[in-house]
Amino acid sequence: MIETLINIVLFAMLVLTALAVVRINQLFAVVMLSGVFSLLSALLFVTLDAVDVAFTEAAVGAGISTVLMLGTIALTARTQKKSTRSGMVPFIVVVVTGAVLVYGTLDMPGFGDPNAPASLHVAPEYMIGSIKDIDVPNVVTSILASYRGYDTLGETAVVFTAGIGVLALLSGLTRRRREDEEEDV
């Protein structure tokens, strides 16, 4: 009962934040609200008992992304440009996509259903093996680092590549410009 109430309140706040993000033109406020949005989603993950995901969402979504967005605003503009086109087409696209997604959830098994396909495949093996073979109480860590070690290696490589890409885009450009200026002098 109390959990349903918490979920309803959190979802209502999530929707209100999203609407505010759409309506406001001041980008500083929008960035702050997107941080609030992340924090609210983190709370929702906590109510789903997915604390590791909530932790990541709070640290990355509400923390780092906000800082990087502020950095982007500092480099670009502080207010949103007025759009001349009507908002009808995007609105219809969003509504249709949302309706399709909701329709897709109708077939899905209930939350925490032990007979859901996802809980029947390799999950039981991992749950037992995590205690017996790996002896690590946090199953998320044992799956992430041991059972799915290859995947996590791939993820680390993705983070590495993303970092290198941003560095190549941002710092490489400034250095070249500085060199050009020196040549001009």
Binding site: T56, I64, L68, G71, D133, I134, T156, G163
Partner: protein, 146 residues
């Protein structure tokens, strides 16, 4: 941000605690929520906060960007190197049982510790590097502009 006295004092008090918490999340990830990804982000946040409040130059004195760029690659090398080490010991790639054949679960603990460390190092490096790359670009904004 020379006139933000409260911000500067609170930041000085918090940075140490944030780094300590990052290490806790990193090395206690087997027992509690968290792991390399979260710890790396928290560690990076400590330096980013320091950089925001005291200026980029001060942050680069503490954590120079050449070191940050090395860390980005070092983490992936630690992770991939763990796999190579297990191969050299005659096991499969990333089979942590190699590190303690008598007690495979202890070997698992060592392997998880190593790869999580690799993840944490890379994530710290990437996050700080991206922040430096953004903050290094002109024009710097005045407080009143926000």
């Amino acid at each position: 941000m020379h006139h933000h006295l409260i911000l500067r004092v609170v930041t000085k008090m918090l940075v140490g605690a944030i780094i300590l918490f990052a290490f806790y999340v990193q090395f206690h990830g087997d027992f509690s929520p968290g792991g390399g990804f979260q710890a790396g982000v928290i560690m990076a946040v400590a330096f980013i906060l320091y950089g925001i409040v005291f200026g980029l130059n001060k942050a680069e004195q503490v954590f120079p960007s050449w070191l940050v760029h090395k860390l980005v690659a070092l983490g992936v090398l630690i992770y991939a190197g763990t796999g190579v080490a297990s191969m050299l010991l005659g096991y499969n790639y990333l089979d942590y049982g190699a590190f303690n054949p008598q007690h495979p679960s202890h070997g698992q603990h060592w392997g998880i510790l190593a790869v999580e460390l690799g993840v944490g190092v890379t994530v710290t490096g990437v996050m700080v590097a991206i922040y430096y790359a953004f903050a290094n670009r002109p024009p710097p904004m005045k407080d009143e502009d926000w």
